[in-house]
């Protein structure tokens, strides 16, 4: 077993792949904005449907719910679970910033280590960026959220 592989499949990822936080499409809170997106990775057949809701209160837009269902590898499933934890309850604009940070790390080919203080459990995916073939797996839920996230002007 190489250390790269252990870096890729950190325990936190394997745990999230099993726990699947946010799995099972849930009804959005009444009155909230709702969006949904379906993503497919044609190379492996992995699929993910993600539903996101945003609560508007005056000027403030807060992510009120993330739920999803899908099937895929441990990286894609863990990533959806982590994204759920990171997004729910967060300010919409702040979340978009975090998603951009995550994308930057994923595109870095291992040259940027994610800041755990900022990205939380999502920082565990830093090792994925060394495996270009797997970046799509890690990004599946995030790309779905980008498309689903309601509340844009």
């Amino acid at each position: 077993m190489s250390s790269d592989l252990q870096q890729l499949y950190q325990q936190i990822i394997l745990d999230h792949a099993k726990a699947r936080h946010g799995a099972g499409l849930a009804e959005a809170p009444a009155g909230d904005l709702v969006g949904e997106a379906h993503m497919l990775n044609p190379t492996c057949g992995d699929e993910l449907t993600l539903r996101a809701s945003v609560h508007a209160s005056g000027e403030a837009l807060t992510v009120s719910g993330i739920s999803w269902e899908g099937q895929g590898c441990s990286i894609s499933m863990a990533s959806a679970s982590v994204l759920h934890d990171l997004a729910v309850g967060r300010d919409r604009q702040a979340l978009l910033g975090l998603m951009e940070d995550f994308r930057t790390v994923m595109r870095s080919r291992g040259s940027i280590e994610a800041d755990e203080e900022i990205l939380g459990d999502a920082a565990a995916f830093s090792g994925v960026s060394r495996y270009p073939a797997r970046v799509k797996c890690a990004m599946l839920a995030w790309v779905a959220l980008e498309e689903a996230l309601p509340g844009a002007e």
């Binding site: 077993m1 790269d4 394997l14 190379t43 492996c44 057949g45 992995d46 099937q71 990286i75």
Partner: protein, 440 residues
């Protein structure tokens, strides 16, 4: 005549049956097999996707570019003549390899293009193109095109599309829970309306060899054309298209020790010569006016534009390499590796091999599901140990869906794999579920 091939010296006095010692000598002819991956000796078990090239193939391609590079079938200068000679000599080599005549081999980019060529010739006939003899290819409402549930997308989608373009109906022969063709259903699906029967010779997922003879007989009873996907058979077992009595067969060069970018369509001469053109343009015509064009006979009719010349030359070298080794010997060796793969996988807890169980005939490949671990994770784990396998649906989504799976991991062998390769792979697979925390 100029030489188109070089012969692997190590294979001159090969023993009756292949063994590891011979395979180790064969491996010396394949430079890439000597490289390391992730700090480990490469174990290449993805030849079902693409095979590796012996030095003789690489040299044939280089020799062509260094000595004879010119466009073929045009130009009268010295190099153009030599290039045309080696190009056509290569066609003869490939034709002889599968029991065909040279004018029955059309060069294509790959097997996918070969199958599309047939499908588009049919729909061009349906659109009224071609001479009187093209009438036999006309399809329309009421006609049926039959494939099977185990097909690679390359032998499935072109037929779905052909049906859509012509108004014909697309049907398929289902497989059973083990992935075997349901022949009793085949007898019902194939009927008087069937115009085309398309099926794979050997499954790229299941490893099964389909009963070509029985299927061809059913097609003949109803006067249907037979299109054989020979991608996993021509590289791995002796194939004689005349003995099989199929009308068309498609295969790819890169799966049989040759380069990428070239494949071939076999078609019975009388059929190819009756078929309307597919791709049109330069070098496939006799007379062109501003209104219309007349076309050459096959195979040139189907070879518009500058051809895959160096690839054809290199593919002929690959064919000679396979012939020197002996297709019956390669088949026997790979059958042995295939059995070793399956019996080894069956012995590992949590593994479900798709296709026939150990002890039943299969080619040298095995696809399997690991309970609780996605195929991409399995492949990643194996890659970390230098073991290259294929993961995903292997371009056979309907088959995977039928088997209740989304994806599988596939190990596929060739003449350069030893039993040690198989054993290294099996030892690694045995550690997968523990690593991903689904087994102790």
């Amino acid at each position: 005549m100029v030489p188109v091939v070089s012969t692997p010296a190590t294979l001159k006095h090969a023993p009756a049956a292949m063994d590891n010692a011979e395979v180790l000598r064969i491996r010396n002819d394949f430079p890439i097999l000597g490289r390391e991956v992730n700090g480990r000796q490469l174990v290449y078990l993805d030849s079902g996707a693409t095979s590796q090239n012996p030095v003789s193939v690489l040299e044939a391609e280089q020799e062509f570019y260094e000595q004879r590079n010119a466009a073929v079938h045009r130009g009268a200068h010295y190099l153009a003549v030599e290039a045309t000679e080696v190009f056509e000599a290569s066609r003869e080599v490939l034709a002889g390899f599968i029991g065909a005549r040279a004018n029955e081999i059309v060069w294509t980019s790959n097997a996918t293009e070969a199958i599309n060529l047939v499908a588009y010739a049919f729909s061009n006939a349906a659109a009224g193109r071609g001479g009187a003899a093209a009438g036999q290819f006309r399809l329309g409402p009421g006609d049926e095109i039959v494939a099977t549930e185990m097909e690679h997308h390359a032998n499935l989608i072109p037929w779905q599309e052909l049906a859509s373009r012509t108004g014909a109906t697309f049907r398929y022969i289902p497989v059973d829970d083990d992935g075997a063709l349901r022949m009793e259903e085949a007898a019902k699906v194939i009927g008087p309306r069937t115009r085309i029967l398309a099926f794979t010779h050997a499954s790229n997922v299941l490893g099964t060899i389909n009963p070509v003879q029985a299927l061809v007989r059913m097609a003949r009873e109803h006067g249907a054309f037979v299109v054989l996907d020979a991608c996993q058979s021509v590289p791995h077992l002796p194939v004689d298209v005349k003995a099989l009595d199929v009308d068309f067969a498609a295969f790819s060069g890169h799966k049989m020790l040759g380069p990428t970018g070239i494949g071939a369509l076999y078609g019975k001469a009388e059929l190819l010569n009756a078929m309307p053109a597919f791709l049109t343009g330069g070098s496939m015509i006799t007379t062109v006016t501003m209104d219309r064009a007349e076309y050459l006979p096959a195979p040139q009719r189907f070879e518009a534009g500058t051809q895959k010349i160096s690839q054809a030359v290199a593919l002929a070298a690959a064919v000679n390499y396979l012939r020197e080794t002996g297709m019956d010997r390669i088949h026997a060796w790979e059958a042995r590796l295939g059995q070793r793969l399956v019996s080894g996988l069956e012995a590992i807890e949590g593994i479900r091999v798709v296709g026939p169980a150990a002890g039943t005939e299969r080619i040298g490949l095995a696809a399997f599901d690991v309970d609780g671990v996605h195929s991409h994770d399995v492949g990643q784990f194996l890659d970390d140990q230098g073991i290259a396998v294929r993961v995903g649906h292997h371009c056979a989504q309907p088959l995977h869906r039928r088997l209740g799976l989304v994806s599988t991991t596939r190990a596929s062998t060739y003449l350069y794999n030893t039993t040690d390769d198989v054993d290294a792979f099996l030892a690694a697979v045995a550690g997968v579920r523990k690593f991903f925390g689904v087994a102790r």
